[in-house]
């Protein structure tokens, strides 16, 4: 009786720990092969055959298709440069320069990776649509209410993620630092 209880207990703990750890690592992600520049993170290896098992599990669980290395690389940001989570009710400014790439797109998603509905039907920018300053730098205003210049509406959702995808770019598995890939800054400039 006692042995049975201990065995059951052990198996219960094993299931809890094992499934729990898998759930946490596939929802929050792991640090393996992560390239972090400012608030942006990318996992260039997910687009190759050397993808790590955790990233593979996450990809299949979410049902997404990672961007292939010969195609480009995707950077995600869920916080600003000061680690404050991106809030759709606040005014956020993305400014500076982007790494070398033939094209890039910046897209706003909710936590589940869906586009956020808005009346403008604007879900992001491509590198050709953007209005740049005289020195070639860009400034994108992300806010729930309309702003002048490059305005990306948030629909007022609480948490969102930005994804900057670089297409046909030298940035990839070999990239390590800001110098190889100068990413734009993200700053929260005001909250109601």
């Amino acid at each position: 009786m006692r042995l049975l209880f201990i065995t059951l207990m052990t198996l219960l703990i094993a299931t809890g720990v094992g499934v729990g750890a898998t759930w946490i690592t596939t929802t929050r992600g792991t640090e393996f092969g992560t390239l972090t520049i400012g608030a942006w993170t990318a996992r260039p290896k997910t687009g190759t055959s050397d993808v790590d098992p955790y990233a593979r599990a996450t990809i299949t669980r979410n049902g997404e298709l990672p961007i292939g290395t010969g195609d480009g690389v995707a950077f995600t940001a869920t916080t600003d440069d000061k680690k404050k989570p991106l809030d759709g009710r606040c005014d956020v400014v993305v400014s500076g320069v982007t790494p070398p790439a033939r094209f890039w797109t910046l897209t706003l998603y909710d936590n589940k990776g869906h586009l956020v509905a808005n009346t403008l039907q604007r879900y992001g920018f491509t590198s050709q649509e953007i209005v740049r300053g005289a020195d070639g730098t860009l400034e994108i205003h992300i806010a729930s209410r309309s702003r002048s210049g490059n305005w990306l509406p948030t629909g007022g959702i609480e948490r969102y993620a930005l994804m900057l995808r670089l297409y046909d770019t030298p940035v990839g598995v070999a990239t390590r630092t800001q110098r190889d890939a100068p990413m734009p800054a993200i700053a929260t400039v005001g909250c109601p």
Binding site: I6, M9, T10, L11, L12, I13, A14, T15, V17, G18, V19, G20, A21, T22, T25, T26, T46, G47, T48, S49, V51, P53, Y54, R56, A57, I59, T60, R61, N62, G63, E64, L65, P66, I67, G68, T69, G70, D71, A74, R102, F103, T105, T107, Y109, K112, G113, H114, L115, A117, Q121, Y123, G124, T126, S127, Q128, E129, M163, R165, Y167, D168
Partner: protein, 194 residues
Amino acid sequence: MIRLAFTIIVGVLLGGVVHLVSVLALPRIATQDAYSRLTPMTALNAVTPLPLAEPGTSPMPFMDPAFATAICRYDLSEGPLKLTVPVSQAYTSVSFYTRNELAYYAINDRSAGKKVIELDLMTEAQHSELPEDEEVTSADRLIIDSPTSTGLIVLKALAAEPGLMPQAQASLKAASCSVQTEPPAKAEKPRGKR
């Protein structure tokens, strides 16, 4: 007390095993992966355009709304696949995924270097059966080896501005992927006569 500690330690150790096994098994047992999601809405060995990514209707998470996307879901058991994608004005790319969403190859219009991206996709076994004919292995014929016999090819064309989306979609409409019906060249030419 010792028994309790022992129970917990063994439990945690076994938990580690469960964790590793489940992480490794997840790509095989996941039912909501991209391939399974796309299976009901795509044709086999043919190009199917995907609806544009829009709030609430995007077939996969994290789709890029600036792109027109089409899928060729392939099964190489019938024979090698021939893929032809005309290049659109801005940017066109072709990415290959295995049944378990492993991105094993991707190419864009510039690295293809031509107005039309032309590829032959085959399994390693089919590749090794190819006759070593000079015509066939010439440099301008790009052969991709698929690690699995089934998988996905994702064709993407960029609409650099929203107004260019119809053009991007039209260029993908002209793309084709089909099983090569004619038998490989070696079947017709007796090898001894050369």
